[in-house]
């Protein structure tokens, strides 16, 4: 029998929390499943952003090769923020590597607009509309007939958590119905489904998880119980020879403080903004040496690359040292904020290296690094978003104890594709 591959994603699911939920019976199936394979902590991309991590997962490449460094970048020659999408991905995703096979891909983040695929796909967030998120056209019609939705309406959270949760579950249920039907059709060689409500619920309800007295605590658990039931369904319906790999793109932890890095650069004399009323990148004014793109990507303001650029290649090394000193010295109530700093060469390699941020920052626990320009304070208390991404606490599960040898001790997101290939 031919070996099929099943990939299951749980966006934003943290290794530590999954273990706890497995231990405490919230996810009983996962509790049993981990005995039957290898469950490891997985390193997300840096930055620990879904666009970057999922791009690495689907291509098996690092950002220097696939060219995606975040949800946003700037249009070359301008300070206008752009939202790169799947078309900007410079490396081939797994379904293009094996065009002779039939692939079903459901709700994979950062795969919009949907690729012409041998098989069927519907992209996950960020997909502005369903029309361009589904391929082929018959599959779009199929999804429409089932009232398929890409994502819950996050606006609802600003009205009430209950309303938001209800919408989240409604979206989850439709998605499950669709993927189960697709899975059962058997018309595929590789199958991928990503559950994304987990990320939303982490961002908005993580405080409720930590506090059993919170009225939304049960809701948080209920979502993961629902995911556990799907894992059980998938394993029950998978063939004995199928290769099953499960993963998340990053972990999730509580926000202690939001850290507005551009404000630090501004007060440190590295960034200056014109007083145009709009505090966006287009307000970047003369004399600016560096700025930060969400969440923690430090870019030098190069001449030739940006309209108001002042930095030359010759200035780079000295400027990076100055910036590192600035970030190293950043403390909040006596605690250091930045845990690690990486010049891009230390993290990335490949043809897209030139487009990469010059310096990447990794925070200590609970400091949510922000690249917004809208704030005029260094630290902000968390508001509706109580959960933040954590890079070193994603998870990877590879089913079948016999495949343990294919899993590195400290796997990273870009390793997943080669793990699958190794097993095959």
């Amino acid at each position: 029998m031919k070996k099929r591959v099943i990939r299951v994603g749980i966006d934003g699911a943290s290794f530590t929390r999954l273990q706890t939920m497995a231990d405490e019976g919230v996810m009983p199936f996962l509790g049993r499943l981990r005995q039957a394979g290898t469950l490891r902590r997985l390193m997300a991309s840096i930055p620990d952003n879904s666009a970057v991590s999922w791009s690495s997962i689907m291509t098996g490449k690092n950002p220097g090769e696939h060219g995606i460094f975040g949800f946003t970048d700037l249009i070359p020659g301008t300070y206008t923020m752009r939202f790169p999408n799947f078309r900007n991905l410079k490396a081939a995703p797994f379904w293009r590597l094996e065009p002779e096979k039939r692939h079903v891909v459901i709700n994979l983040p950062f795969s919009y607009p949907a690729d012409g695929i041998s098989g069927r796909m519907v992209s996950g967030f960020i997909s502005p509309n369903l029309e361009n998120a589904a391929s082929p056209p018959e599959f779009l019609e199929y999804l429409k007939a089932r009232h398929y939705r890409i994502d819950a309406d996050t606006r609802k959270i600003y009205q009430s958590r209950a309303l938001f949760y209800e919408d989240l579950m409604a979206v989850h249920e439709i998605r499950c119905r669709v993927y189960r039907e697709q899975f059962s059709s058997g018309d595929w060689d590789t199958f991928m489904i990503v559950f994304t409500g987990s990320d939303r619920i982490g961002h908005y309800l993580l405080d409720a998880w930590e506090d059993p007295g919170d009225p939304d605590h049960e809701r948080f658990l209920e979502y993961f119980r629902a995911v556990d039931r799907e894992l059980a369904w998938i394993m029950e319906h998978a063939g004995a020879d199928d290769i099953v790999v499960m993963m998340s793109d990053h972990g999730m932890e509580r926000v202690k403080k939001e850290v507005n890095l551009n404000y630090l650069l501004e007060t440190g004399g590295f960034l200056s903004l014109a007083d145009t009323g709009k505090r966006g990148y287009t307000a970047i004014a003369d004399g600016t040496k560096a700025f930060v793109l969400e969440p923690s990507r430090v870019h030098l303001n190069y001449t030739g690359r940006y309209p108001g650029g002042t930095v030359t290649a010759g200035d780079r090394q000295a400027l990076l040292e100055e910036l590192k000193a600035l970030f190293r010295g950043l403390t909040c109530e006596g605690e250091p904020v930045i845990r690690e700093m990486f010049p891009r060469e230390e993290l990335y390699s490949g043809p897209a290296l030139e487009e990469a941020p010059d310096l990447l920052l990794v925070p200590h626990t609970g400091y949510s690094l922000r690249g917004t320009l809208a704030r005029d304070e260094l630290f902000t208390e968390p508001d509706t978003l109580v959960g933040m991404h954590r890079g070193d606490d994603a998870f990877l599960y590879v089913h079948g104890r016999e495949h343990a040898g294919a899993v590195p001790e400290h796997p990273r997101v870009e390793d997943i594709q080669s793990i699958v290939e190794k097993i095959l």
Binding site: F71, T72, I126, P128, R155, H203, T282, A374
Partner: protein, 505 residues
């Protein structure tokens, strides 16, 4: 020096297609119809219909930075911008089509010839002869090399208009296609209903089509200064909405009126149709994020634009009858026909005016400076204000230079209107934000009208229809001649010493 629209951004540009609203802190997305920013963190995404290679981005490229916006006569203009003129066969529509075409816009348009038909129904005709549309199009192509995409169509034939909008995908729509006559709307119930059906329902249907087919287009909708009426308190006629610092006090309490629509006090069923349009357009901007300029236009006069003067076949229409003639145009014709200029009532009524050529420049500026999605904006398009009796004096003076002896007569006012009133018109946006400076002096344009109409064939066309000049349509619905109150020679009379104010600062 950068020009008036240099700092507008993609958010104003009709080529920017809204794609969604991302709160990327939570890697989330919200429903895509929300075009307002979601707080600090919300980020609007667009795609440029003209530069799809840029992918999705925030709408912050300025017109000055964008290669699709190029230098034109009055500022930056979108390369080959697609403009659809509804009512292209009309007095203003035809002049605008030629001007836009010559400036490099891609012009399309429709008309159902209701203007030609209603003028014929009333037994009148345009004094400046105009060609049939096929001949007009031919001449435009021959003389200027223009290729208008024109269809004969009623704006209320929604299926046809939908198909045409879908084919052209206009980036701006200039909506002139209404029956523009106050007296015509007061003839009887049939006429009143026809005007309101044509104007109000026509516009309402158009708004639904825009929502479905070209939601990013910039709608430039023609209203009239007559929507406001002339409040006896002398309260300024603001540009559609009260300014931020306007307040209302009552019994010792005070409220801000900033941003509220100002009261409207229309002066005929035609003007009522325009007020209804105003609300329909305003609401659709609110419900559907459409964008529109509502142009409260003063009374237009004159014949001249560079293009219409280029060839007799390119001339635009010019009416002088009691229903479709506007006051200055009528007075000049009367002066030539030897009819004393017909002032209604006291002649102390104050009106806002603008010459044809200036009005066309304003339209180009509005087209090239679109509002933001969801923005309903109003401009008062007026370049000067005059009392009717003063206008009569000016025309008599210019007529004299052309060797005419002109008399003035006051006749019973067929309309119901205030005859002595203060008037202060605010018209700041065109001069201050859109870079418009009137270039046509009243005397100069009136002189041009005399010169054209005194060509013998045109003078005889006036005389042929002299019987349509005296007003017979009363606001009571009766058909009755207006009796002559007095006749006098220019310069003989002293007029009331109140004057209007045009506030452009």
């Amino acid at each position: 020096m950068s020009c008036f629209n240099a700092n507008k951004t993609c958010w104003n540009c009709p080529a920017a297609v809204f794609k969604g609203n991302v709160d990327f802190r939570a890697c989330g997305q919200s429903q895509d119809e929300i075009k307002a920013k979601l707080g600090d963190e919300g980020q609007i995404m667009i795609e440029c219909a003209r530069r799809p290679d840029l992918g999705y981005f925030e709408p912050s490229i300025t017109f000055e930075q964008c290669p699709e916006w190029i230098e034109g006569e009055y500022g930056l203009q979108l390369k080959n911008m697609r403009v659809m003129i509804l009512g292209m066969d009309g007095y203003l529509g035809w002049a605008l089509a030629l001007k836009l075409g010559r400036m490099g816009f891609q012009v399309s348009g429709i008309d159902n010839y209701t203007r030609r038909d209603t003028v014929a129904e009333k037994g009148a005709h345009t004094i400046v002869p105009i060609e049939r549309m096929t001949e007009r199009l031919h001449a435009a192509s021959e003389i200027y090399g223009l290729n208008f995409n024109y269809r004969r169509m009623d704006i209320r034939e929604r299926d046809h208009l939908a198909a045409f909008l879908d084919e052209v995908k206009p980036e701006a729509i200039v909506h002139y296609a209404e029956i523009p006559s106050a007296p015509y709307s007061m003839v009887d119930a049939d006429h009143a209903i026809e005007v309101q059906d044509n104007n109000t329902l026509g516009t309402l249907g158009l708004l639904w089509l825009i929502k479905d087919i070209v939601p990013e287009t910039s709608l430039i909708k023609l209203g009239t200064m007559g929507e406001y009426g002339a409040p006896l308190t002398g309260r300024p006629l603001f540009e559609g909405m009260f300014p931020a610092d306007a307040t209302l006090t009552w019994r010792g309490r005070e409220w801000s009126l900033g941003g509220e629509i100002t009261p409207r006090d229309p002066v005929s069923f035609y003007h009522v149709s325009k007020v209804q349009d105003t609300y329909n357009v305003y609401e659709s901007c609110k419900y559907w994020w459409l964008r529109s300029y509502d142009v409260q236009q003063g009374v237009i006069y004159g014949v001249h634009t560079e293009e219409t003067a280029k060839d007799p076949r390119l001339r635009t229409r010019f009416d002088i009858d009691e229903w479709f003639g506007t006051v200055i145009n009528r007075f000049v014709a009367q002066a030539i026909a030897g009819i004393p200029l017909t002032i209604y009532g006291t002649g102390e009524q104050i009106k806002g005016f603008i010459a044809l050529e200036d009005a066309m420049e304003c339209m180009v500026r509005l087209i090239t400076s679109p509002p933001e999605p969801g923005q309903y904006d109003v401009v008062n398009q007026v370049s000067g204000i005059h009392k009717l009796n003063e206008i009569a004096e000016i025309i008599a003076k210019v007529g004299k230079k052309h060797g005419l002896k002109v008399e003035i007569q006051r006749v019973e006012n067929p309309r119901v209107e205030t005859e002595v009133h203060p008037l202060e018109i605010v018209s700041r946006k065109l001069p201050r934000e859109l870079g418009f400076n009137p270039t046509v002096l009243v005397e100069k344009e009136i002189d041009r009208v005399f010169t054209l109409l005194m060509q013998p064939e045109l003078t005889s066309r006036i005389k042929e229809k002299a019987h349509t000049i005296m007003p017979k349509t009363r606001w009571t619905g009766e058909k009755k001649d207006s009796g002559v109150i007095e006749k006098y020679k220019p310069g003989e009379k002293t007029y009331g010493d109140h004057h209007g104010v045009l506030d452009t600062e």
